[in-house]
Symmetry: C2
Subunit: 402 residues, 2 copies
């Protein structure tokens, strides 16, 4: 029998553990009449297909040879400059193109972070619950998890301090999604942001700030990114074009001011896939380079998702169920619902029969020990589908409770 | 100080070892008047820019929403089917779409192979010399190398047997580039192919067959792929669109009939970057789906490279240097020259002053112990540039010997 690596065995074991319910659900969603709140897909009807066709035409006409050739690992210099400028504008802190590494979707950024920091058995600190894709990326390096308690204002700084005081071995980094977190939709409160940066600075602990949804804010003012604070401890920022442009382009970025860490990321990416798609980067850059039009495009996405969130929240309010609780998020793509006393993995079986699916919350808890949550995506389905789907979910909950 | 992983430290150490001369050379090649035989770039003037613009237009018009959306880890089903059909046609053995995993350039395929097979200190068997990108991919998993002796007919089966008889620990797989190998341009002789498959079968040792150049044959008949033989030991085939279409698309594939290994590759890719670019896969597939036009395109590439090889070989024959030896390859992109008694890393310093560069052969020997080879790329420069560049190389050799 062929012998696979310990990492492959570990990854398979943990994946089997984590993915079984989701895999089951995905089988159901292939039926056309099922309404899925399970994925994390952007609204496809908002993809700028004509604009991208035109961008591809211009790129092929003017820079075709470069756009189809091998390129450097760090990424296309125009893309890196665009990211640095946008980051500077959004954070008020100055970023340079050289801080930016273009990666193949933010999942690759997380994989590279795992690769350069983690040895088997190392600890990663994350919110409880946290993003499943990050857990999967770090699982590949046989990580273990220490979790921070959270409330409606996101990660609780005192909980982080307690975790770090006791941690053994001391963790390699803290992973956080401060804006419209996946799965909870929660946003880390302003005053907690600087406190968390200072705690990590005191421990010289790197922060990985994952911010896929930051630009999809529906109301209120932007809060400062963690990376906008000066700190002597490294802060690695992960951003992506997937939610504001297209996930199929696989254009995302890590922004890292620490030169030593950045070099290790680049070296690691070089071995992993040489570089991200040149063609996609050129077309992406060509499309976004009309800044006003692109900002309008992002605003349209946020406006559409805001309406969908409102429709979903209104529909959820009609569900007559004791113990159903949710707080509408101020942005992003996910609404987190808890139904006290219910195991949502069990509920999913009933709701799949009612032709509506979601992701059971347990998947997002590294220890898989909390069972009453569910993640509902509101970006992908139309308003009408959201209404129908939530009505079905209400029936499923009543049926389940009976 | 931030603590990085053992893998990151190892990768940095080995990369520093392997890449220093190449990095130095790349600095020189940025000067516009330098002729570079150093890279492995396809001829950019042959890229089908108009065809790709048109393919992008059609994809955006007809399948825009799907082409910009998230997709499955295994790859676009149309692309997988296309690869399977092409493999079936080329090898005479039947492959199914489900055998195919689309990866982000063949470098990612090699990285995933390393990830699922290798623990630190594990042995990989490869030709001596072998492809630098593979060494870098496996370095990231802290591999060690056992090397097979080679001659003009490629890897020597008896040498492989000797290596396997003595190996401790027993290697995880054999990595081979049977067609127009990088760096030597050599092709594994027909009778050696089945022998090597049978040796590996006897030891139940997986083969990783890397075949980026197989379709770029200039003369003679195709030889059977290793994967075309029935064997009870797994054979993993790595193919790519980089040399027949565009490296900037990052569309490559692993073809694996062993279901268990394939599942581990897919799981590993899921954690590494979720999936390859949907947009690039759709555009790639749209472009190649006119089969006759695409075959003509590949034939044009091969014809062009053949002429360039001839020009380079003729020019090399004019160099009056004792001990200069080469055998023109029957395909691919590289010509391997040895100059007995010369350290080509030293020669590179002189030749860079003469405005011509190449990759010193030592980079391709895992043990870095052979110094008289150089790899010359003939696909990227025009015939005129090749003539001028080889003339300069001749001067550099004379100067160096003096």
């Amino acid at each position: 029998m062929t012998t696979v690596s310990r990492a492959a065995k570990f990854a398979e074991r943990t994946a089997r553990l984590r993915a079984s319910t989701i895999r089951e659900m995905l089988k159901v969603t292939q039926q056309p009449d099922v309404i899925s709140f399970g994925g994390g897909l952007p609204a496809p009807e908002l993809f700028p297909t004509a604009g991208i066709a035109e961008a591809a035409r211009r790129v092929m006409e003017l820079r075709g040879a470069a756009a189809l050739q091998y390129s450097v690992t760090e990424g296309l210099s125009e893309m890196r400059r665009w990211v640095a400028e946008r980051m500077t504008r959004r954070t008020g802190r100055i970023f340079e193109a050289e801080d930016v590494t273009i990666v193949n979707g933010s999942q690759q950024g997380l994989d590279l972070v795992g690769k350069i920091f983690l040895d088997p058995g190392d600890h990663v600190v994350m919110e409880n619950p946290s993003y499943l894709g990050a857990i999967q990326a770090f699982d590949a390096y046989q990580a273990r998890y220490l979790t921070i308690d959270t409330d409606e204002d996101g990660a609780i700084p005192e909980s982080l301090e307690r975790v770090l005081d006791r941690a053994d071995p001391f963790p390699k980094f803290v992973y956080l999604v401060p804006n419209f977190q996946n799965p909870t939709g929660r946003t880390l409160a302003r005053e907690r942001r600087e406190r968390i940066v200072r705690i990590c600075e005191r421990y010289d602990l790197p922060i990985v700030e994952d911010d896929p949804y930051g630009e999809l804010r529906f109301e209120g003012a932007d809060l400062p990114s963690l990376v906008s604070y000066e700190s002597s401890a490294p802060i690695l920022y992960s951003g992506t074009g997937s939610k504001i442009m297209s996930p199929g382009m696989r254009v995302a970025w890590l922004v890292i001011r620490d030169e030593e860490i950045r070099e290790k990321i680049v070296l690691s990416k070089q071995g992993a896939d040489l570089h991200s798609g040149t063609f996609a980067q050129y077309v992406f850059h060509e499309y976004v380079s009309d800044g006003a039009a692109f900002d309008a495009h992002v605003a349209t996405i946020a406006r559409t998702y805001r309406r969908r969130r409102d429709v979903m929240a209104a529909a959820l309010n009609h569900i007559a169920s004791d113990g159903l609780h949710f707080v509408p998020p101020s942005g992003g793509m996910f609404l987190w619902v808890t139904v006290s006393g219910i195991d949502t993995t069990e509920l999913l079986r009933v709701s799949a029969e009612q032709k509506v699916v979601f992701v059971p919350g347990v998947s997002f808890y590294p220890a898989r020990d909390v069972h009453d949550g569910m993640r509902l995506n509101f970006s992908n389905a139309s308003e009408e589908m959201i209404r129908v789907g939530i009505e079905r979910l209400g029936h499923a909950i009543s049926t389940f409770k009976r």
